[in-house]
Amino acid sequence: MPRETTPAQDLIRGIWEENPVLIQMLGLCPALAVTNTVKNALAMSAATFFVICCSSVLVSSCKRFIPREVRISAYILVIATFVTLADMMLQAYAPVQHKELGAFIALIVVNCMILGRQEAFSSKNTVLRSLLDAIGTGIGFTIALLMLGGFREILGIGTFFDIPLFGSNFEPWVVFVLPAGGFLTLGFIILGMGYFEERKKAGNAA
C-alpha cells in the first residue's frame, strides 16, 4: 500500500498549502455570507469544525459497510445528521449566534469542502488519519474565516470582537459589512497572496 503522506502532513496540509477557502475556493458561501464580524466567523467555523470532524470519523470507520454506488448519498446523510445536531445545539446553547447566522448553519450541509474531504480522504483512510485531515481542514477554514471576519469587522464597524479600536470618531467603511465587501475582501486577500507568490517566484528566478 503506497503511503505518500505522513500523518503530520495530513494535519498540516489543509491549514495553508491546501487551504480550503483561500486556495481551493471551496465553501465560499459560508465564508463570505457570515463573516461580517469576527464573532459570526468564529461561530460558523466552530459549527463547521464539529461537522467535518464527526463526519470524517464516522465515514472512515464505516467505509467498510458503505457500497460504492451509494457512497455519496451516505456521506450526505452523515453530514446532514451532524449539521442538524450542530444546528439544534447552537440554537439551544448559543441562541444569539444562531439567530445571527440564520439559515447559513443549515447550509453547512452543502459546503463542498466537507463532502470533498469525505470523498477524497476519509473514505480511503484510517480513522486517525481522517480525523487529522479533518482537523487540518477545519483549522484552515477557521483561519480563512477569521481573516475575512477580522478585516471586515475592523474596517466595516471599527471594532474587533466587539471591542472598539479607533475611538468614537472613526468613520466605518460600511461597504465591508455588505455583500459586496465580502467579495472585495476575499479578492484583496487572494490578490495579496498572488503578489507574494509573484515576489517569491521573482526571487527564486534571480
Binding site: I76, T84, D87, P179, F183
Partner: protein
C-alpha cells in the same frame, strides 16, 4: 403564509437580494462554470428547472410530511434534492439524449450547489405557500442565471486583456463579483 406579494418575492429573489450577489448562494458554479456565456446560460437553465422542482418538493415535505418532525428538515431536504437531481438526470437521459449531452456534466454539480438547498431552507423559514414558493424559485433561478451570464460575458471579454499576473483567475473574478454586487446595490429599496 407570508404577507409578501408574489411580485415582491420574485423581484427580491431575482434582483434586490440576488441569490449570488447578495446571499452568496450558488458561488461554486459562479466561480467555476462562468468562463463561457453558452455554458453559463445552460447552467442557469438547468438550475431554474431544479430549483422549481425543489421548491415543489420542499413544499410537499413541509406541508404533509415534516409537520410533526421539523427537526428532520435538513436531512430530508438534502436527501430529496440529491435523489431529485439523480431522477432528473435519468429522465432527461431517456427522454432527450441531446439535452442530456448538453446538461450532462452540470446536473451532478447542482446537488452541491448551495442555491438549491438554500432555496428550500429560505422558503421554509419565510413560510411561503405553494405559489409563493414557485415564484421564489423562478425568481431565484433567473437571478442566478443573470449573475452567471453577466460574469461569463465579462470574463470572456477580459480573456484578451493584459490582466496583471497577480489578478489572473480568481482574484479578478472576485473583484468583478464585488463590482457587480456594488452595482446591484442600486436596486436596494426597490420593493
Amino acid at each position: 403564509m407570508s404577507d409578501q406579494t408574489l411580485f415582491s418575492i420574485f423581484f427580491s429573489a431575482m434582483i434586490v437580494n440576488n441569490f449570488t450577489l447578495a446571499l452568496f448562494l450558488g458561488l461554486c458554479p459562479f466561480m467555476g462554470v462562468s468562463a463561457r456565456v453558452e455554458t453559463a446560460i445552460r447552467m442557469g437553465l438547468a438550475n431554474i428547472f431544479v430549483l422549481v422542482l425543489t421548491s415543489l418538493s420542499a413544499w410537499v415535505l413541509n406541508t404533509y410530511i415534516l409537520v410533526n418532525a421539523p427537526y428532520l428538515r435538513i436531512i430530508s431536504f438534502i436527501i430529496v434534492i440529491a435523489s431529485l437531481v439523480q431522477i432528473v438526470e435519468m429522465v432527461i437521459k431517456k427522454v432527450s439524449p441531446v439535452l442530456f449531452k448538453q446538461l450532462g456534466i452540470y446536473l451532478p454539480l447542482i446537488t452541491t450547489n448551495c442555491a438549491i438547498f438554500g432555496l428550500a431552507i429560505f422558503q421554509t423559514n419565510r413560510s411561503y405557500d405553494f405559489l409563493q414558493g414557485l415564484t421564489f424559485a423562478v425568481g431565484a433561478g433567473l437571478g442566478l442565471t443573470l449573475a452567471l451570464v453577466l460574469m461569463a460575458s465579462i470574463r470572456e471579454t477580459s480573456e484578451l486583456s493584459d490582466i496583471p499576473a497577480i489578478a489572473k483567475g480568481t482574484g479578478l473574478t472576485l473583484i468583478i463579483a464585488g463590482s457587480l454586487s456594488l452595482a446591484f446595490m442600486g436596486f436596494a429599496g426597490l420593493l
